[in-house]
């Protein structure tokens, strides 16, 4: 579904992405893991077209995404830090997005209800706490029932209840055969979700394996242990 070929991106002297190639197929739940500043968010932003790669290309359903925008109607994106216009209320943001996307698909408002956002619709975005903002971002990502979900640190800042709700929702989407990409540092959150792991370091792709392969290779059952194992091997 999403294929990246030899994607490189430099910010000044810093190589954010260094010759990345990867293939993501439907029905998978892929975890993007790596230390801070390893290029995870840049990779996600290049898939969304927010960052334009210096070289290489990315295709979405076989079409090059460069200068195209229609494909984004099939993506739900939850940013790491959701930034919204300050003087809009939660309701305004939802209305605006519905207005802009004008999607023919039925709206999936389940998360709005589960997160208890319906009662807070008139609150202004600037008054919201970080966690509530994350809830809004998550609800927006799932709202249009997209084929691909890209979630950047989805559980950071969410309380345990909300984080469980979100995880349930992700599992349900995965079962529907959608492609889900998640970056997270909370590996224990990912254990029950992911089917594949991409490990990045300093802008390069270290490996892209299914979770079973990873378990076999490292001999560890838990994702956190397995990744720790990999990281240790690299330093030694």
């Amino acid at each position: 579904m999403i294929i990246a070929s030899n994607v490189s991106k430099k910010f000044g002297k810093l190589k954010a992405l260094d010759n990345i190639s990867l293939t993501c197929t439907k029905g998978e739940c892929i975890a993007l893991i790596g230390p801070n500043g390893s290029g995870k968010t840049t990779l996600i932003k290049s898939i969304l077209g927010m960052v334009v790669p210096d070289s290489g290309f990315i295709t979405f359903n076989g079409k090059n995404i460069l200068h195209s925008w229609e494909y984004r109607s099939q993506i739900g994106y939850m940013p790491q830090i959701g930034r919204y216009p300050d003087n809009m209320s939660i309701g305004d943001v939802f209305d605006m997005m519905k207005d802009i996307r004008g999607s023919k698909n039925t709206l999936d408002e389940e998360l709005i209800g589960l997160f208890g956002l319906k009662e807070q619709m008139s609150k202004k975005m600037r008054t919201l706490s970080g966690g509530t903002r994350q809830k809004v971002s998550a609800s927006l990502a799932f709202l249009f029932d997209p084929d691909v979900l890209i979630l950047d640190e989805p559980t950071a800042g969410l309380d345990p209840v909300a984080s469980e709700i979100l995880k349930e929702k992700i599992i349900a989407q995965k079962k529907k055969g959608k492609l889900v990409m998640i970056t997270s540092h909370i590996l224990s959150d990912l254990d029950e979700l992911v089917t594949q792991v991409i490990y990045m370091q300093e802008g390069t792709l270290q490996f892209h394996k299914t979770i079973d392969e990873l378990r076999m290779d490292t001999g560890e059952n838990k994702l956190s242990r397995a990744i720790a194992n990999v990281m240790l091997k690299e330093t030694s």
Binding site: K45, L48, M50, H67, W69, Y84, I100, R101
Partner: protein, 255 residues
């Protein structure tokens, strides 16, 4: 595109600064017209005020506004929207709302006191100037990432167009006083939309006789329909060119 313009315009028209700007223009215009019994004199005073205030507000307000809605832009860029559409809608929203407040503030008094050719030309150039300086602001903003720096650049650009440019031209005139520069001056004015507007309007009035030989040459050019159309074309170019350059830059910008 219409939807985004709608959101931008409804946001700007509720903005207190824009309301204050409209009110200020309205009060100034009415007071200037009622101070002078000769409406031509009133128009002249109004010209000097608007040529100073309109570019300043257009460029600084636009720059600050675009920086403040960077979150909004970021949010929209990740949605199924064309970046070009997004940027042009932002421009249209800004230019339309600021032109609207100019029309409310200056246009209505002009239509009341001076509903003739000069008044209409002044109204038109005011709106064109607004559009041009919004475009210049967008170009300055897309080039600089840092907010403080970008607003500084916007203010400097205004300073350049309203004060420094004239100084430089005057300096050059004195240096080359021995040469016939009258025709060159017509070309030079094209490089500054404010000067262009000023001369365009002044030459519609009867004050050009006081400007000596250069005034006569200017009258020959700007007084004709041809000259007026060329000046309007150049003013339009002042909106189109920065806008085109900024759009090209924005399409490739990393957010």
């Amino acid at each position: 595109m219409k939807k985004i313009i709608k959101y931008v315009m409804s946001d700007i028209l509720q903005n207190r600064i824009v309301l204050a700007y409209t009110f200020f223009l309205l009060v100034t215009s009415f007071s200037v017209f009622s101070l002078e019994d000769n409406t031509n004199k009133g128009l002249l005073s109004l010209l000097n005020i608007t040529l100073l205030i309109v570019p300043l507000v257009s460029i600084v307000f636009s720059a600050i506004y675009i920086y403040n809605c960077s979150e909004f832009l970021e949010l929209l860029v990740s949605q199924p929207l064309k970046r070009k559409t997004l940027w042009l809608s932002l421009y249209t929203g800004l230019a339309a709302s600021l032109s609207l407040s100019f029309f409310m503030g200056v246009g209505i008094p002009i239509l009341v006191y001076q509903p003739n050719k000069i008044g209409l030309i002044m109204l038109g150039t005011g709106i064109l100037l607004t559009c041009a300086f919004v475009a210049v602001a967008m170009f300055a903003v897309v080039k600089t990432r840092d907010k403080a720096k970008g607003i500084g650049v916007a203010i400097l650009l205004w300073l350049y167009f309203s004060i420094l440019f004239d100084g430089l031209v005057l300096f050059a005139l004195f240096q080359f006083a021995d040469y016939p520069l009258e025709k060159v001056m017509i070309v030079v004015t094209a490089f500054n939309p404010i000067d262009l507007s000023r001369i365009l309007i002044l030459l519609q009035m009867d004050v050009s006789a006081m400007m000596g030989y250069t005034g006569a040459i200017f009258k020959n050019f700007f007084g004709t329909a041809m000259g007026v159309s060329i000046s309007i074309l150049v003013l339009l170019l002042w909106s189109a060119l920065p806008l085109w350059l900024s759009t090209r830059r924005f399409i490739r910008k990393d957010l």
